[in-house]
C-alpha cells in the first residue's frame, strides 16, 4: 500500500512540476517527506577554431585554422534526505574530435565519446548555528573559490607544482576535486573559510593527498578579499617499493644526467620533488556599490574588476643540472607566479556578462607536462625550446547571454588561454598548450542548456 502511495505521489509531483517547469525545480517527494528527488540535466555544443597556435607534432611546429567541436551532456540527481543531508550523483558524457588526426590511428578520425563521473558527493548542511553556517561535502565535487573568474585564474586547484603547469577549459573555470570540503560562513556569510583535504585526480602523481585552506571576506558586496594556501602532495600514498632504491613516485631519487638531482647552497646533493606549496591572494572590487543608482543603470555583473595572483610552488630549486643533465628547474618564484586581472565591461543587462581578462606569467618554460606524463615522470619542466617564443601574456574576451530564465545560453569567447585540444590517442594528446606565442589565439561559440 505504501509503495502504491509513493508511486502515485511521485507521478502527481512530476505532472505538477512539468506544468510550471520554467518557474520551479522539478521535484519528487516521498509520502513521508523524508526524501526529495531533484533531477538535473546539462548539455552544450561548442564549435571554434584555433586561428594560430603551436603544433603538437614535430612535422608541424606551427598550425593555423584548426577547427574544433565538442558536444557534452550530463545527467545528475540531487536527493535531499530530511533537512541536513543532500546526495548528488551524476554522469557526464563528452563527444570530441581528435587533434591531430593520425593516418595510422583510425580512432582519431571520427568522433569519440568519453563517459566520466559527474559531481557525486554527500553534503551535510547546518545553517544558522551559533558559529555560523557549516557545510561538509565528501566525494567528487566542483569547487570554485573565485566567483569572478571566467577563464583565466582560479588556479589553486587547476595547477600543478613542479613543474608549474596550468589547465583551463572554456566556460568552465571550476576545479573538480575528490575528497572532503568543509566550509564555515560567519557574519551573515561575509566571512568564508574553506578547508579541503583532497586526493589528486589530474596531476601526477595522482592519489596523493593535499591540504588547503582558504579565507575570504566580503564587505557589502563592494570589496572582497581572499587568500589561500595549498600543501600539494602533502601525504604521499606511494612507498619506495614501487621502484626499489629510486624513491617513491612523489619523491623520486634518480641520479645521473637524466635524474632529478640538484646541488643546494651548502653543496649537498638533493632531489627535486613533486611536493609543493601554493599561496594565492585575490581582490575584487564592485564600484556599483558606491555609485548611487548604479543598480538601475548597469547589469548585475557590470563594472566588477578583480585580480588574482598565485605562487605555484613557493620553493625555488637551483637549476644545477647535475651531471650535465637535462632536468631543468625554476630559479625564482616569479617564474611560477601567474598574475591575473579582469574586468566585467558594461553591458547594461543586454548581455549577462561581457568580460575581459589578462594574465601575466613570465616563465622561460612553456606550459607543458610532457616531461611528467610521457618522458621521465620527474618533477621538472621541459627544456625550453629555441623555436618557441613564449609570450608572458594571456588574454580572454568572454560574453554570455541567457534566455528562457537561464535554461538556454549563448556564449562567445576569443582568447589566448591555456587551451589544449583532445585526442583519442591519449599518448599523443597535446601536453603542451597550443596558444603560446604572441599572435596565437582561438575563438569559439557555445550554446548550453540546463534544467
Amino acid at each position: 500500500m505504501k509503495k502504491k502511495l509513493f508511486v502515485l505521489s511521485c507521478l502527481l509531483t512530476v505532472f505538477s512540476a512539468f506544468e510550471d517547469f520554467a518557474q520551479s525545480q522539478l521535484e519528487l517527494v516521498s509520502p513521508d517527506s523524508t526524501l526529495r528527488w531533484r533531477p538535473h540535466g546539462y548539455g552544450h555544443f561548442r564549435a571554434g577554431q584555433v586561428v594560430n597556435g603551436i603544433g603538437v607534432v614535430s612535422t608541424e611546429p606551427r598550425v593555423s585554422e584548426v577547427y574544433t567541436e565538442e558536444a557534452y551532456g550530463g545527467i545528475s540527481m540531487e536527493i535531499l534526505y530530511k533537512e541536513h543531508l543532500t546526495m548528488h550523483m551524476g554522469v557526464d558524457v563528452k563527444m570530441f574530435f581528435s587533434y591531430p588526426q593520425e593516418i595510422n590511428f583510425f580512432v582519431t578520425k571520427y568522433a569519440r565519446e568519453d563517459a566520466f563521473l559527474g559531481p557525486t558527493y554527500a553534503n551535510f548542511l547546518y545553517e544558522k548555528t551559533r558559529f555560523g553556517d557549516f557545510n561538509l561535502s565528501i566525494g567528487y565535487f566542483d569547487f570554485k573559490y573565485n566567483p569572478d573568474v571566467k577563464n583565466l585564474g582560479e588556479y589553486m586547484f587547476r595547477s600543478a607544482t613542479y613543474p608549474a603547469y596550468i589547465i583551463t577549459y572554456m566556460d568552465y573555470p571550476v576545479a573538480k576535486l575528490l575528497g572532503a570540503h568543509f566550509r564555515n560562513e560567519l557574519c551573515k556569510n561575509s566571512i568564508k573559510q574553506d578547508v579541503l583535504f583532497t586526493t589528486e585526480t589530474t596531476f601526477y602523481p595522482t592519489q596523493d593527498w593535499s591540504l588547503s585552506y582558504l579565507l575570504s571576506y566580503n564587505f557589502r558586496n563592494i570589496v572582497e578579499v581572499g587568500a589561500g594556501a595549498n600543501l600539494s602532495h602533502l601525504l604521499s600514498v606511494y612507498n619506495d617499493q614501487f621502484d626499489p632504491g629510486l624513491g617513491s613516485l612523489t619523491d623520486p631519487k634518480k641520479s645521473g644526467p637524466n635524474g632529478n638531482q640538484y646541488i643546494d647552497k651548502n653543496g649537498d646533493t638533493l632531489y627535486y620533488t613533486f611536493r609543493g606549496n601554493k599561496v594565492m591572494g585575490r581582490l575584487s572590487f564592485d564600484p556599483k556599490g558606491i555609485i548611487p543608482g548604479a543598480d538601475k543603470l548597469f547589469g548585475e555583473s557590470d563594472l566588477k574588476c578583480y585580480a588574482e595572483a598565485i605562487v605555484i610552488g613557493t620553493t625555488s630549486y637551483p637549476d644545477t643540472r647535475v651531471g650535465g643533465g637535462q632536468q631543468y628547474s625554476y630559479e625564482n618564484w616569479k617564474e611560477k607566479m601567474p598574475v591575473i586581472f579582469g574586468v566585467n565591461l558594461p553591458a547594461y543587462g543586454i548581455l549577462d556578462v561581457f568580460n575581459t581578462e589578462f594574465e601575466w606569467w613570465d616563465s622561460k618554460y612553456t606550459n607543458n607536462y610532457y616531461n611528467v606524463y610521457i618522458n621521465s615522470s620527474l618533477p621538472n619542466p621541459d627544456k625550453p625550446q629555441d623555436s618557441i617564443f613564449r609570450s608572458p601574456w594571456k588574454w580572454s574576451v568572454f560574453a554570455k547571454k541567457s534566455f528562457n530564465d537561464g535554461h538556454f545560453s549563448v556564449i562567445a569567447q576569443a582568447a589566448r588561454d591555456h587551451m589544449r585540444l583532445p585526442s583519442a590517442n591519449y599518448q599523443h594528446s597535446p601536453t603542451q598548450e597550443m596558444l603560446v606565442e604572441a599572435g596565437d589565439w582561438w575563438w569559439c561559440f557555445k550554446t548550453s542548456f540546463s534544467f
Binding site: 543603470l297 553591458a347 547594461y348 543586454i350 601574456w393 588574454w395 574576451v397 606565442e437 604572441a438 599572435g439
Partner: protein
C-alpha cells in the same frame, strides 16, 4: 625599443539599435590608417584601407551624457612603396619594392558621449580609453626588379610580425557624429546613426 603608432580614421557606415535605453549597436565601416615608427625606411607611404565590425552597448547616464562600451574587430596597417635605380646609365636596373602591413585588432573601447539635441536627432561627441588586442600582424612584400633584356623578376614574401609586437595596446578613441532619430521604421525607438571616429 621600436615604437609603432597607429593613427587612423574610421567611418562607421551604419549602426542600428533596438532598444531605447540601454541600446545595442551593431555596426560596420571602413577606415584608413597609417603607422609611424622610429626607424621607418624612406619610402612613400600611403594609408591602408581597412574595415571594422562593431558591437556596442550604450546606456544613458543623463539627458546629455551616455556611456558606451563594446567590441570591434578592425583591420589596420599601411602601404609603402619605394623605387630605386640599382644599375648604371648603360644598364639601368629598376627596383620597385612594395609592402603592405596588415594588423588585425580586437578593440574594446569605453567611451563617454555627450549628446546635443539638434533637429530630428542629436550631435554627439565621444572620447575614452580603448584597449587593443593584437590578433594578427604580418607584412606582405612584393619586389619587382626590372633588368633591360631580361625582364621583370618578381619575388614575394610574407613575414609574421606578431613576435615583434606587443600583444596588447592602449589608446584613445575620440570622435563625433550625428544620430538620426527618424521614422525609418514603425518603432520610434529604432534609430540609424552615422558617425565618424578617429583613434590614436
Amino acid at each position: 625599443m621600436k615604437t609603432i603608432k597607429i593613427v587612423g580614421f574610421a567611418l562607421t557606415l551604419f549602426s542600428a539599435c533596438s532598444f531605447a535605453a540601454p541600446a545595442l549597436h551593431i555596426g560596420g565601416g571602413v577606415n584608413l590608417s597609417s603607422t609611424t615608427a622610429t626607424d621607418s625606411l624612406s619610402a612613400t607611404k600611403s594609408p591602408r584601407r581597412g574595415f571594422n565590425v562593431a558591437l556596442g552597448f550604450e546606456q544613458n547616464l543623463s539627458e546629455y551624457l551616455s556611456l558606451i562600451s563594446g567590441i570591434s574587430v578592425e583591420t589596420r596597417g599601411e602601404k609603402t612603396e619605394s623605387t630605386s635605380n640599382l644599375g648604371s646609365d648603360t644598364l639601368p636596373i629598376t627596383r620597385v619594392f612594395e609592402s603592405e602591413i596588415n594588423f588585425l585588432y580586437l578593440q574594446i573601447p569605453l567611451l563617454v558621449q555627450y549628446n546635443i539635441p539638434f533637429g530630428p536627432g542629436k550631435f554627439n561627441v565621444f572620447a575614452g580609453p580603448e584597449l587593443g588586442i593584437m590578433l594578427q600582424s604580418e607584412v606582405r612584400s612584393v619586389d619587382n626588379t626590372t633588368i633591360p633584356g631580361v625582364g621583370t623578376i618578381t619575388t614575394t614574401d610574407t613575414m609574421d610580425l606578431a613576435l615583434k609586437m606587443r600583444t596588447t595596446d592602449g589608446g584613445i578613441s575620440a570622435g563625433f557624429g550625428y544620430e538620426y532619430h527618424g521614422s525609418c521604421t514603425k518603432d520610434a525607438n529604432n534609430r540609424r546613426r552615422h558617425f565618424r571616429r578617429v583613434w590614436i
